[in-house]
């Protein structure tokens, strides 16, 4: 009897939760649906009635090939992929290692580094923009290399990634496990890779998705570093669609859809790891 009542209550609760989720979900993807509707319309139709499913000039696919051509899609895509993958992987490795040493070693330098990193997260990028280019471009002439951009992506994302790993190690990695590993004869290095790193999976997935997205979408920094067309990433390649005095909204939307798919796929893929998380780990 009680069980039945509880089951009914549970069902009602679930129904309510799903209802709330659906409403919020619609609100969240509404602008995105607008993008999808309008990508198949001409500019004139988008301006005159953006809500129409099909514009007065009919259904058109021409935004895609035109956007791809103007962006030099394949080349820009390759550049973006190369830079994003390498920067993300290296950021995760370096940041998790740094966070580990900061959490476990009570040493002044660690505290100082962490403090600096936290503080640096609130530096408006505009502050660093000119000094950065005059330093690396004007003095060292290092611009126009993908490696320079990767180097800077890692440098800039290091603080936040470290910050997130710091939190995760602090709360989710039982020190007892590490001690056990040490007793088993593991060095600190081995302990980190064999015990700590696998436990960080949910955070690794989170950092990976957040950083990959940031690198993939970043416009300002790459535009400063990569001044040659053959090095352009997707966001730099699409800037041609924006202007103070004219904006080609149809092309922008096509470019946007083309550019966001890889990240969406990456997200769907990685979020399984966020779910599996600790429950699948060795904590139990």
């Amino acid at each position: 009897m009680d069980n039945q009542k509880a089951a009914v209550q549970k069902k009602i609760a679930h129904g309510l939760m799903i209802a709330v989720l659906i409403v919020v979900f619609l609100a969240f993807i509404f602008p995105f649906i607008l993008v999808i509707i309008n990508v198949f319309k001409t500019k004139a139709d988008i301006t005159s009635n953006p809500l129409n499913l099909i514009g007065a000039h009919g259904f058109t696919m021409k935004n895609f090939p035109e956007a791809m051509k103007k962006m030099n899609f394949v080349r820009s895509f390759g550049n973006s992929l190369f830079i994003t993958v390498i920067s993300t992987v290296l950021t995760i490795l370096f940041a998790s290692m740094t966070a580990f040493v900061i959490v476990r070693n009570k040493w002044k330098a660690c505290g100082a580094l962490f403090g600096l990193m936290i503080a640096s997260m609130v530096i408006p990028f505009q502050v660093l923009m000119i000094p950065l280019v005059s330093f690396y471009g004007g003095i060292f002439g290092l611009l126009n290399h993908r490696a320079t951009l990767i180097f800077m992506h890692i440098g800039f994302s290091m603080s936040m990634a470290t910050f997130m790993f710091h939190g995760a190690i602090h709360t989710n990695v039982p020190i007892a496990l590490e001690e056990a590993a040490t007793i088993d004869g593991c060095s600190r290095w081995q302990t980190f890779w064999k015990v700590v790193f696998p436990l960080l999976k949910p955070t690794i997935a989170t950092v990976a998705i957040i950083d990959a997205m940031a690198f993939w979408n970043d416009y300002l920094l790459p535009s400063l570093i990569l001044g040659k067309k053959e090095l352009y990433t997707l966001p730099i390649a699409t800037q041609i669609f924006y202007g103070t005095f004219s904006t080609d909204i149809g092309l922008i939307m096509a470019a946007l859809l083309l550019a966001m798919l890889p990240i969406l796929i990456l997200y769907l893929f990685l979020q399984r790891y966020i779910v599996e998380g600790v429950t699948a780990g060795s904590v139990k």
Partner: protein, 428 residues
């Protein structure tokens, strides 16, 4: 197992992108022209002609053997130039606004005094006896109109000269309204349009512009009682009264307003011939054109557009650019002005009103044809290019308030006066 798959996928992605990149950079270097090996870079700050420029660059490279790469940035010109100069990676040729010539080219541009084209134009920018700016085109501001829409209601031929006074113009608006066009005007609420284009005419049409600006800096100008201020704002009031977006003028979107004008839903909007780059994307009607802002005045400005040279090239003088590159840049400028293909590029591909008297420009768009007609008749009030850089934003904001009925005319005049009195004079 899963880990291995991820690792494999990542490795494959990396390998794929590396080969993709390797391939493309090879392609880039082999595409460099053999010719005499000189390559120049051009910065284009007019997004609407970027396609035309890139196409031209390819053809030009093929023909002359001089490599040309054209770049555009959606950043502000000043910010982009600052990053390029501080990184020691400037363009050979940079297209900038007139005010940037004064702030950039004086230090970074070469003197082009000896060039032949200086004899064919009145629009070059000269500082201390040096020609620093090569004018790309002539642009002018005024009232854009849709003649077909007007004629459809009035039933007679529309001749803009008949409506140069505000009274005549008001009469026409009444006729249009009576004929079913509820609100015949549009107003762009953008601060650059209000502040740098519309309000700017109040300075430019003063009898002595420099003296007037000086009095503004000194805080001595009395705008509220200034004849030109009142005359232009009277006209603005009429536009405001007949604005299709009157209930919410600050929310009017430029694309929408341009479309209404292009398709004849409204008949008038203040703007310039560059607006064609937007209008051409809509189902525009015949009979579009530009006319002077109607005013009840006797000083003749009601018969003139306001404009002049717009968008200037300067050639970099730093050690990052070689003498050969500078020569190639000069050759390129000469090609634009003295080669039939260069001319065609300017007038047909870019739809620029040429700033040079030797160039034939019969194939222009309707707005540019209006501009050319006024320019050819000498009916053009020259631009004033020496506003402080924050002028458009602050005066534009005050004018937005006036547009939205947040302040009255006296308050508006007061805000502008206050701004000028606190601004630092621009040397020129």
């Amino acid at each position: 197992m899963k880990k291995k798959i991820v690792a494999l996928a990542l490795a494959a992605a990396m390998a794929a992108s590396m080969t993709a990149c390797g391939g493309s950079s090879d392609g880039g270097s082999s595409a460099a022209p053999s010719g005499d090996g000189v390559s120049i870079t051009i910065f284009n700050s007019k997004v609407e002609v970027q396609d035309a420029f890139e196409e031209m660059a390819e053809e030009y490279s093929e023909k002359t053997g001089v490599g040309v790469e054209v770049y555009y940035s959606s950043d502000t010109v000043a910010a982009h130039m600052a990053t390029k100069y501080s990184s020691g990676d400037p363009y050979t040729l940079s297209m900038v606004d007139p005010k940037d010539i004064y702030s950039l080219a004086v230090e970074h541009g070469i003197d082009m005094s000896g060039e032949k084209w200086t004899e064919n134009t009145d629009y070059e920018i000269e500082v201390d006896g040096k020609v620093l700016g090569f004018p790309m085109c002539v642009e002018a501001r005024g009232l854009m109109y849709n003649g077909s829409a007007i004629e459809a209601i009035t039933g007679k031929e529309f001749n803009p000269d008949d409506y140069s006074t505000l009274d005549a113009f008001k009469g026409l608006l009444d006729e249009l309204k009576a004929g079913g066009m509820e609100a015949p005007c549009g107003i762009m609420k953008e601060d650059w349009s209000l502040g740098a284009h519309f309000f700017q005419e109040i300075y430019e049409e003063q009898p002595d512009v420099e003296a007037f600006i000086t009095s503004l800096y000194e805080g001595k100008a009395d705008l509220a009682n200034n004849e030109k201020f009142n005359s232009i704002i009277d006209t603005f009031d009429v536009l405001k009264e007949n604005n299709y977006a009157k209930s919410s003028p600050i929310a009017a979107e430029r694309e929408v307003s341009e479309q209404k004008l292009a398709e004849g839903e409204i008949a008038f909007m203040f703007g310039g011939n560059w607006d064609w780059s937007m209008i051409k994307d809509f189902n525009y009607t015949d009979g579009l054109g530009m006319m002077p802002l109607p005013q009840n005045t006797t000083d003749g400005t009601d018969k003139k557009l306001v404009g002049g040279g717009s968008k200037y090239f300067f050639i970099d003088n730093s050690e990052n650019t070689s003498d050969e590159q500078r020569q190639a840049a000069k050759d390129f400028l000469n090609w634009l002005i003295y080669d039939a293909e260069g001319n065609a590029f300017l007038t047909e591909k870019c739809a620029f009103v040429p700033a040079y008297d030797n160039i034939d420009a019969s194939a222009l768009d309707p707005l540019s044809i209006s501009v050319k007609n006024y320019a050819d008749q000498g009916a053009m009030v020259p631009n004033y290019n020496y506003d402080p850089d924050d002028h458009f934003s602050i005066v534009g904001a005050s004018m937005q308030k006036y547009l939205a009925d947040q302040i009255d005319r006296a308050g508006f005049a007061g805000e502008v006066e206050k701004y000028w009195a606190s601004a630092t004079p621009v040397e020129h």
